[in-house]
Symmetry: C2
């Protein structure tokens, strides 16, 4: 007897042949996928304790969000219509009042939201990362965590040192049955000196930890780096030997042909967060170009303060539609490309592609079921197109992480949804009040 | 006793003062809103046959989609990654095989999808419009309908004459208890001659019918009109006196300062469909600029063949995020602006702003309840931001049109959802087979 059998689904395994299995079944045992194939053969060979009927579903690998600040769910709706620098100032000013408890509850809300929209793994870059570990433990999610390293500016009173980031990473790397991967999190080339970046690089090489940094994301970043170093952020990182296969570069909105070549030569893993870069008025990352060059581009939502949700299915639609606009060509990118960005390419970005990112025998069972018997998912015909262009996070029905069913029929089994909603509302109101944002509080009804 | 009382909601009535009512109630009698105010006063003064508890909801006016081709739900996923001209050729080639029955079922699927995502009124531009009337009658929606007038190109064997459009409009204008407004539907300046457009204009003036046309939507349109007339589509329409307060101009992707002034001077109503113009690689309509000039800009989804859904809440997010990108300024447009585009400005576009578009005493009761007790809608604080940036169509819970409850707790009461889903799948497969698109059919699993 196996643990779980998912039967008769339309399976999009995300394999190189880009095939769709029409009436497929998946068998899960001890957290791993042990069989995938046509239901008629699988159902003869296997039986399991739990059978999930997927005959009304499209089954995809768990989605991987490669750039978040999970606790910034507490910033939802607080940061609209403000420019990059003002945005950062407001964020850091509120964050100077953050407590471990705020981060814990904000992260729990984020985990809840992610599970409900089909994300099973995320790359977080934030503060009080031990509180995020607690939220992950509670929710049973998978994550790659980097405690932010900020030398210049940044919120007051928080540990934003390399030592802190390193200490956290060494302690928790591989924790929670291997669901935690730790990374080092230097914020950016403008918030960290070259010397510090060199130290980070040294520590990464010594420990084998990967690095998660924000790179070339705004015009003001370009200006600062030009003034300070007379070059661009990407060229600066190239010069100091920072570009490597173990670097996850978030955003990369601005990159000319030469810079794209530098990223390619370094085998840098690029993360793309289309919504936040539209909202901030920054620009369109040359994603289609980078994919054609063979760069591994994955996708993220960024924090809810600049999005304002964590719905990776919605983000995929934005990612797919921005490239035809940028290249004036509807063939710039396909639904398949973006489905891969949100799954297998996310796994590659975090160095966990041997474990997750596709539905294949031997991989860990991170699996998402999307309802397809809904008016906006009819006619059934072009399956990747339905997922990328027609569906949204609320269509996700069932989520399995590490072989454990964490959501069934939209009920999250690992978390208390009502408690989290009520607690985070209070946490939010207190945080804003402490931060002196009285004007916002006028608009808050006190009880939900 | 009134008919319906909606109690204790957070009401966004869409009035000029942009106020939000925190614990508000709405009373509906004989299809109209007869009271709106704080629950404590309203609940003392009124009682009703049906009480709807809105304490977990944000209550907004029914959304108005000002550019659709409803039956093109049958084209979902068939038209991805193809350029403008190829798109039109494929569409017209399939449409040459359309039957009245196809349009009826495709429109029913569209009505179902719209109701489930909070749209109560739509402006359709298509063929076999009597079949759309049948779908509207069944679903109890509100609509402004234009039968397409195409002189050049276009699908074969369908009635695309001015006479047909006029005959339809005269017969059905004001039908279904006033839920139907008819318009004249000349396709575009490239598919209709100047002579024909002049005739359309004359007929419109004679009958008082408004006009719904596609305008300045693609680079190929600009080229054709430049070759044929040596000018731009907007300038051409200005020259022949076609720009008027009764003209709904769909798309308007390309418009320079002078053209925007021409539209403003003519009090033309502009419709914006951000998603389809990204998908086709066309461009970003200068919406923020037009709004600053005082032009009435509304919003639509276009058909599902170029979107690929009819979710106006999702479309609002795209509309809000494209403008910061276009203007490199996060303050280009606000959530309030776009909420108005999807409600009161839609009503103005269709000339029905005295009847619908806001939640005010005397207006017809087209009302939508959006659930707010969901993780992605927390914290509750910036209400318009939650609707525009965080919500999607699946968060819509209850829909009232013309004082009738058409959806309650996501159950559509006027339509048989299962039957429509199954029938439209068959209708789609038959249509594609008749149209000779065998290659697509390979990918279709025969049964849902």
């Amino acid at each position: 007897m196996s643990d779980i059998i998912i039967r008769r689904g339309i399976i999009v395994p995300i394999t190189e042949d880009r095939k769709v299995l029409e009436k497929g079944s998946i068998v899960v045992e001890e957290g791993k996928i042990i069989a995938v194939g046509p239901d008629e053969t699988i159902s003869k060979e296997y039986s399991a304790d739990v059978e999930i009927d997927a005959s009304k579903h499209i089954v995809i690998p768990g989605l991987i969000n490669t750039h978040t600040h999970l606790a910034m769910t507490l910033f939802r709706g607080v940061m609209d219509n403000i420019s990059g620098i003002e945005w950062l100032e407001r964020a850091w000013s509120i964050e100077s009042n953050l407590t471990r408890d705020d981060v814990y509850w904000g992260s729990l809300l984020g985990c809840l939201e992610m599970i409900k929209s089909g994300t099973t793994c995320f790359a977080d870059h934030y503060f009080f990362m031990e509180a995020v570990i607690d939220a992950i433990q509670g929710s049973s999610m998978r994550a790659a965590l980097a405690q932010a390293i900020i030398e210049e500016g940044g919120p007051e009173g928080l540990d934003t040192t390399l030592e802190g980031s390193l200490k956290f990473a060494k302690r928790y790397n591989g924790a929670l049955n291997g669901r935690i991967t730790c990374m080092l999190g230097p914020h950016s080339v403008y918030a960290c000196s070259q010397e510090l970046l060199n130290e980070v690089k040294g520590s990464a090489e010594e420990t084998g930890l990967r690095i998660h940094i924000y790179l070339s994301e705004s015009r003001s970043e370009l200006e600062i780096i030009k003034q300070r170093y007379g070059t661009t952020p990407i060229r600066l990182l190239n010069k100091i030997g920072f570009l490597s296969p173990y670097l996850l570069a978030a955003h990369v909105v601005f990159a000319d042909e030469e810079e794209i070549d530098l990223l390619k030569r370094g085998s840098v893993k690029v993360n793309h967060n289309p919504i936040c870069k539209m909202k901030g008025g920054h620009g369109i990352s040359p994603v289609a170009k980078m994919i054609r060059k063979g760069i591994n581009v994955s996708i993220g939502t960024d924090g809810a303060g600049s999005n304002n949700n964590l719905d990776l299915l919605e983000e995929m639609k934005f990612a797919t539609l921005l490239q035809p606009l940028a290249e004036q060509d509807p063939r710039a990118i396909s639904a398949w490309d973006v489905l891969e960005m949100a799954t297998v390419r996310g796994a590659i970005a975090l160095g966990i592609e041997k474990e997750v990112g596709s539905i294949e025998v031997g991989k860990k069972a991170d699996i998402v079921l999307v309802r397809r018997d809904k008016p906006h998912m009819i006619p059934l015909h072009n399956v990747p197109s339905l997922i990328v262009y027609s569906a949204n996070g609320n269509d996700v029905d069932t989520v399995i992480i590490d072989g454990k069913i964490v959501m069934k029929d939209r009920n999250v089994l690992t978390l208390d949804e009502e408690e989290i909603i009520n607690r985070t509302q209070c946490i939010f109101e207190n945080l804003l009040e402490r931060s002196g944002f009285k004007t916002f509080l006028d608009r808050i009804p006190r009880r939900i």
